[in-house]
Each structure stands twice: as structure tokens, then as C-alpha cells.
Subunit: 586 residues, 2 copies
Amino acid sequence: MAWDATQLKDWQIAELAEGNIPTTEQYQEMMGLQKDEIIPYGKTPKIDFLKVINRLKDKPDGKYIEVTAITPTPLGEGKSTTSIGLMEGLGKRGVNVGGALRQPSGGPTMNVKGTAAGGGNALLIPMTEFSLGLTGDINDIMNAHNLAMVALNARMQHEANYDDAELGRRNLRRLDINPKNVEMGWVLDFAAQGLRNIIMGLGGKQDGFMMHSKFGIAVGSELMAILAVAKDLADMRERFKHIVVAYDKAGKPVTAQDLEVDGAMTAWMRNTINPTLCSTVEGQPCFVHAGPFANIAIGQSSIIADRIGLKCFDYHVTESGFAADIGFEKFWNVKCRLSGLKPSVSVLVATVRALKMHGGGPAVVPGRPLPDEYTKENLELLEKGCANMIHLINVIKKSGIKPVICINAFYTDTKEEHDLVKRIAEQAGARAAVSQHWLKGGDGALELADAVIDACKEEVNFNYLYPLEMPLRQRVETIAKEVYGADGVDWAPLAEEKAKKFEADPSYADYSTMMVKTHLSLSHEPTWKGVPKGWRLPIRDVLVYGGAKFLCPMAGAISLMPGTGSDPAYRRIDVDVNTGRVSGLF
Amino acid sequence: MAWDATQLKDWQIAELAEGNIPTTEQYQEMMGLQKDEIIPYGKTPKIDFLKVINRLKDKPDGKYIEVTAITPTPLGEGKSTTSIGLMEGLGKRGVNVGGALRQPSGGPTMNVKGTAAGGGNALLIPMTEFSLGLTGDINDIMNAHNLAMVALNARMQHEANYDDAELGRRNLRRLDINPKNVEMGWVLDFAAQGLRNIIMGLGGKQDGFMMHSKFGIAVGSELMAILAVAKDLADMRERFKHIVVAYDKAGKPVTAQDLEVDGAMTAWMRNTINPTLCSTVEGQPCFVHAGPFANIAIGQSSIIADRIGLKCFDYHVTESGFAADIGFEKFWNVKCRLSGLKPSVSVLVATVRALKMHGGGPAVVPGRPLPDEYTKENLELLEKGCANMIHLINVIKKSGIKPVICINAFYTDTKEEHDLVKRIAEQAGARAAVSQHWLKGGDGALELADAVIDACKEEVNFNYLYPLEMPLRQRVETIAKEVYGADGVDWAPLAEEKAKKFEADPSYADYSTMMVKTHLSLSHEPTWKGVPKGWRLPIRDVLVYGGAKFLCPMAGAISLMPGTGSDPAYRRIDVDVNTGRVSGLF
């Protein structure tokens, strides 16, 4: 039985469904966990990662299903919703299924985009907890991150106020931090554009060191990036040492370890390493762990959550952020390489709406009504736009995976439109299925579930796009040509200089290549839809994250602090003071 | 059996004791709770406040024991340690006992002062959870508070960028906020002196509104003050409406409700209303709920925690921050008036060290060795210094309570010194007991426990120092003379002007009077020890908190953002990556 998603808002469906949310004991039984491996935490228990993984290390992994998407409209095409719907559909088929999703940021949740709990009958619960901080992982990151900044600025103050002899008496050596070369900013988890650029340390000599600084959103923190890729607590502890907070006046990095704050940062995140369990509205367990940005970081839930999921579930569903040219590429060449895990299949989510846009339909603008092209049958635009899907099918096939196309159905779509997309996908060598999980939950996702089960029976000869030995510039060239469809790469002088330095220095040999590019086009230019031809990818700069071990070639601007619009969600969020129930989340 | 507190650090004792920490089921049984009234949360369950209080509303309250102190040295004289030791001592006597303490801030915990978990064998566990964020209440406050600031600055940006017509199209009216009259700042929960004064909103017109701003420590937030005094979720929701974020150009308050963010703020704090349970190392349950500053706020754990504690325990111990002239005065005239609860007894903690200081001993400076006067017997200094204790015994007696003096024993004290203090206390009309809880736990606090049990048998004719009808200036005069021992009050012109306005405006009639004064002297001058004579209390200003409903007459400076010193605790905090155990907290 599904809820009437055309009449009810997501938070209302969540409230209705939460009466049946699994208890800690039910999760334990479903997942074959022992009592001391699951830590009760209100409605959303955490899993003791190390205990589970040690006990099950010899158990074969389940099927590993990644969900990605074609190049989307600015409205998004429903990857989270499809991931949840797929879990529900597989659940209806009676298989042992679960998944992993990212924790949403308070920025979009309080602003215009809303939470990332899926929607309709493909929804994650408890939605309120999921949307408002869950078990506190993002708060932990915020505290650990800001503690490093406290240590930095206080140290700069003390070094300015005391001579070397006095510093020595206080058991401190002069780090000689360059105030014009401070890498790190502060974080909080809202869209606070007013804190993008600040001057701090005004006042007297006890009021901190005066310098330019900035706030980013907490989910964009390097600590979040580290949480997503860390193997375990030891690995996280080690990475924290090497976070570059600033540079000294000789240009040498000043790390969290230099500030003697890396141990305390780890202390604030000792529990963050353990993933939290939520549930689909139909009762499938789903980990929520890490929520890194997809632009400078991996944009996927954690390696730890996938590792446990593959031990606990026969089918484990995980989602990659952004579109397949970024999300799948990072899943393929970074996440799977770091984890050593092998995917069984990728699901590429497509919508008739986005395909029509790629076929030349008018711009889709959030907050404005959709033009007629998108709400009425238009096979011509649709067929033309399928080029984007075909391109991404071919990208995925380069990894050895034969993808499943999920046509995420809208009620305005026609059967002819669905049939056309399906035929084209199959011609391109993919399986394809129409899915109505938003409207019908698992019952609407049976075709998709069957296609995925079928695909998982095939052997995958999984191989990376490039070997780790490949130098940075060649890696970028390979990604640009093979994934984005560019003719080549143009390096700005600064970027090329940095790239050469990284290539020559063996300490960067094991750094991941984490591309920075818009997800609204296969190219770097968000307005170029379909499959842009005859263009070169410009790389303006290469960012380096010493703790996460990422080199980020920048083919686009990144904002690490979104802005709050004039009609944000918080205007409509409230609490029933008699029950504590929250209304207005979406 | 006690741990060897002379050899082990607090975090080591905590680690040893945590093997026996009560389980959720044991707490439930000890406190007579029903299963759905206790919400498991790792090692520290939360209590569903409304459920418990509704079920037990007709049950008579237990004995209500407040712990306060004489005017302390800058090292503190062990109020938290004594509160915990008293719970343990009462536990040894076989009575049903529990208590409530404040949640510590990350500022002192990461800096030089350390956490507030007590010490030695009078320690609260789990110490790591207690010290590092517990169940996230302070994070909730931080998020809810900062969301209001996001709403403020974003609104200022949109009002600057759009004309009235465009604002109207966006369903917004112009609030016309005065950027030179913004009351509220941002918060984070570390000692970040570099964020005391900032310029924010640098950049372009989409980068926020440029203005002066500030960060305070999260525990100093008005939201924390509200959490401590709120009756329930409805009361908290109502108070959030009236938080004054800024003033408009006509001087009228702009509230959280005007910014349409009060509902969402409540959503972030919907669980914060429920207190968390910890335990003494000897197994007595202790609520940890709220941790408001004692300078501008009430400086005590929440009214909610005391209300539940009095229903669940026959003896409920609660601590007041600062010394009795501030902590007890606020407990007496504000907290008890707001809650309607009646205390059974007050325990006034005294140390030989602090009494000697009041008798004319040399200055006690944190981080420097104690002068000989404090480590060798000196009955003359001690006897002279007892004047401070006698003064505060007399203050407490004005409420109708006959206090119990707890002489918090140090190993350098002599029996003659203890006997002298005891005799003087008894002559002043108090009970007195020597307590060795730090060294011996509950076994060391039996004399104290017996004195408290004895005191609780007496009927208390509890009465407030002033009636609510008394005008503000007269209230301050009464407190200054009757509690601090001043000859009178001198009002600065600005303060007097404000006070007259508040007295004339009936909307301030139910506001609490929340004195701001140093705790290091009975006077406003921290260096005046003992019982200063022949002085007048200067009031420079009166702060107003519209949500908490506090008027704060300022007899001293307050810093809402402490600073991080050159040798902070975080340098020594670390995590065992194999077990997740944290070392170095103190």
C-alpha cells in the first residue's frame, strides 16, 4: 500500500510511516548484527563499525549497486528518490537489501532546496531526524574543524604577543604563520553568505590575531571529505595530522599536527566514524554516513558505510552525487580504488524532462512553471536529447559495467516517451526500466528491481580509467576526453606550474584526483546541454588537501558557502509543542 | 572501594569506573521510569520530560538540596565535586538519590580550566561523553542560534538589494534593520577570542550585508538561558518568538518572529528540551541539562531537570554556579520563583584555602605554586577569613534555609583547621561537616550526607528576598545591601534611564532580575576579599533579553567569548584509534 503522494507532503508521509519504523532490535535481526554491534540512539541507531567489520571480514560481499544520473536540469532528476525506490523494489522481491545515503546539510534543508530524503513513497525516515542533524555527525565535524581554527588564530596571537624566549618558556616554538596565506576557514552548516568573507581579530592584543578569514558550509569541510574516504579511526587520525591549516612565511605548510590539535580534533569525531541507520518508508535499512560536497570532495556516502552494507545486505545500494560524468567517475576511479570494492552494476537515472532539455528544450528555472515542452509529449526533443544518456552509458561501459537505465517516471510523461527512451537505451547496450517509486513505492519499482537483479547475475570485469602511476596532467586529459568528451585540456600557467610540482614530488603519488566541474553540463560551461562537441577543458588551478589527500583540478568555480534566498524553507518550519513533531520540512 | 585519586588522573578513574556505568534498563529501574520514558542514546539516555512529568504530577517532590560556595579563589573550591560527592555519600546511606549538573562548554574543556565533571572519586561518568558534547544539546543551541543570524543577515542583504515592490512580490515586508544596532552575535562553543569582533559581509551584493558582528561562546547564548528556565516545549517556543535580534531604524525591536525563523529554531531544539542522564562513579543517576553562564544567565542546570529529579529521587542535589552571593541569590529569587519549587537545604562549600585568602592570605594565581600559608596550618588567617563564610550563612538564612557547611578537605589541611571552621559555622547557626569525597568517594562524604539528611528533616519557611512587585532599582538596592553587604547602589545615567523605562513599562513586569557581578568578591571589585565594608555597588548598564525575559543590571564587565591560552588542554588530548577511548581530558 502506498500513500497518496499527489495529496500529501513528504513530511506528512514520513509522519504516517514512522509508526512502523524498525526498532533497534528489528534492525539487529534484519542485518544479522550482534547486540553490542548496534548502539541505540533515539530512533536512529549507530553501528559499531570496527566490531562488525572484524567479525564479518571473511563473509563474501553482497551485490554493490551504484546509482548515478544523466546530466540533470537544475531541479535534479531524482537520484536519491530512485536509490530509495530501488531499495523498496528489491525489498518487494524478497531479497535482503539495504543502502547508504549522504547526510543532508542544514544549508539546503533550511533554504530553498530542501532536504535529501527522497520523496513521495520513496522516502527515508525518520525524516525529521534525518533532516535536522541526525546523530550529530555534521556537528562533530563543525566542532573538530573550528577547533583547528581556534588553535591557529590563538597561536598567531600568542606568537605576535611573545618573543621567542617567552614562547620557549611556554613550551611553544614559533610557527611563523603567514597571515596572508591561511588556507583554512571556519565552518557552520547553514547557507551564510554574509560570512564568506570576514575580517577577524579586531580589538586589542588579547582579542586574537587580525586577519582576513572566511566561513564555508560544514559539509564542505576537509574533515567531511576525510570521513567519506577514511578506512577506519586510525586512518582518520592519521589524515587529520596532515590537514594544512596555513603556510608559514617560508611557504611551508602548517598542519593540524604542528598546532598540536589533531588528537583533540579526533576526540570530537571518535563516534562520527560509526554510521547511523535510517529506514525507507517500506522498512529497508539504509545507512546515512558522511555528506561531502560533490564538487571538491567525493560527493558520496562513506566507504565505511558501503563496507558494512556489503557485509550485512545481499544487495547494497549507494548513490553518487552530481551526474555520472562527475559522480560515477569519482565512484569508479577514486572511491572504489580507495575501498578496493567492486561494483556489480550502475543505475543511470534519466527523466523525460532532462532528456528534452538536452534535445534543445527551453531553460528549466527553479521556482518558475515548466514550459509546455516538458509537460506535453514531444518525441523529437526527447530523441535528440537521448544523446546525453547514450554518452554516459558509454562512459559507464568503459569501467566494465553494463548500466541499467532507470526512467524516473513523471505523471506528465506518455507511454510513447518511455518506450522511446527504453528502446534507445537498449540499443546503446544498457538494460532499461520505467520506475514509479515516487507514486507507488516498491510496487512501482519492480521493473527496475528485476532489471537490477538480472544485471547483477552478470560477471563484471571492472577496471579503472587510469592507473595510479599516470601523472596528474595525463589523468586530467584522460578524464576530459574519455568522460567529458572534450578535445583536450588547456592549463592556465598557475595550474600547470602546480601540476608539474605535484607530478615531480613523490609525496603526492597516492593523492586522489578529484575533478571540480559543473554537473549541469558534460563540459565546464553549464549552459552547454546534450553532448557538447569541439571544446577544450580549461583548468585554472589545482587545490590540494593534505589530510584528505586530494588534488582538485579546477575546471569551474566553487563556492564553499551557498547563500540563503529570500524565501527560504525556515519560514515554514515549525514544531507542534505538545508532541514535538516538526512540520514543513521538504 | 575508592580509586587512588592521588595517583590516577580523572580520565583514568573515569575509564576504570565506566565498566559499571548503569545501563538504560538499570536507570529505568532505579528511577521508576516506564520503558517509553527513557530514550537510549549510547551510554547517556535522554528522558522524555513531558511523559514523566505528566505521569508523576501528583507524586510528592523529594528533598531539594542546593549546593553553593563561599567566595572562591580563582582555582574554585569544588562545588561540582561536592555535589557529586554528596550524591555518593547519600547513596552509601541507602537513600534514593540523584542530581542535576550543568553541561560543560567546549571552551574551558579544550582550554586551561578543563571539564566540570568533578574530580577524584567524586566524578561524573561517562566523562568523555560528558566533556565532548554529550547528546548534542550545545550543538542544537549553536545551530538554532546561528540560524537566527543567517536569517538576519540574509534579510538585510535582500532588503538592501530589492525595492519595496520586489520585496512585496517575494512576500516580504521591509523590516528596516539598523546595522548599527544589531543586538545578537553568532556563537560557537570554543574560546575563540579572534572572533570577538569581526566585520562580515565583505564582497559583492550577493555576499551578505556588510556590518560589524561578533561571536560569543554557545553556552552564553540567550537560547541556553532559555533552556535553563523554560517550563516545557511550549514555553520555549513562546520565548524564542521574542528574542530580540536587532532593532529597526526607529529603535523598535526586530525579533526572531519578525524574521520568521522562530519555528525553525525550535525545530533544531525539539530534543534539547529532554535532559540527559549520566552517573556518578558510584552509580547515582545525575541529569545533565543546560549549562548557562552564571554571569548574565541563571548559571544553573535546568528547571526541567530539577522538576524531574524531584519526582524520581527522594533526595535531589543541584548546583548553583559562582559563589552564594550570585549563585544562591539567583537560585533563591529567580530559579525557585520561576519553578515554584521549594528547597529543603543549601550546602555551602568552604575550603581552608579560600578562607585563608579571605583572612588576608597572599593572592592565589592559577598555574603558580600555592604560597606556604595555604599548605601549612595557619589558624589566625583561617579564623579571620571565616567572616566571608559567616556573611554567606547569614544570607542563606534570610531565605528561611539553615545551611550545611561542607568543609571540602584537602590533604594539606589539619584537624585543628577543620575543627575551627566547624565551630565557627555552628556558632553562626549552621550545621557543618568535613568531607573527603575527592579522596574516598561516598565513604568520605558520610558526615556530609548525615548532616544533609538531618537538615532535610527540618521544616523550611522559604521566602524570597523581594516580591515581584518591587521595582527594578529597589530590587537591586535590596540585593546589594542584603546579599553583597554594600551601603547602597550608584546608577550610571544610562543605566538609571533604562531602569526607569523598564519600571514604567508593564511589559517588563514579569522579567527576572539577573545580576552581573564578579564571583571573586562579595563586591564588584575582584580583589576585595573577606567581607568588604563601606562601599557602594556601581551599575553601569542594564541588559535586556526579551526571550529569556531577563533584565541584567551590570555591576561588572562580562566577556561572552573567553580566550584560548598558550597552553590549552587540546595539546594533550588524544584518541586510542583501536578502542576509540579518549585520553587527556581533565
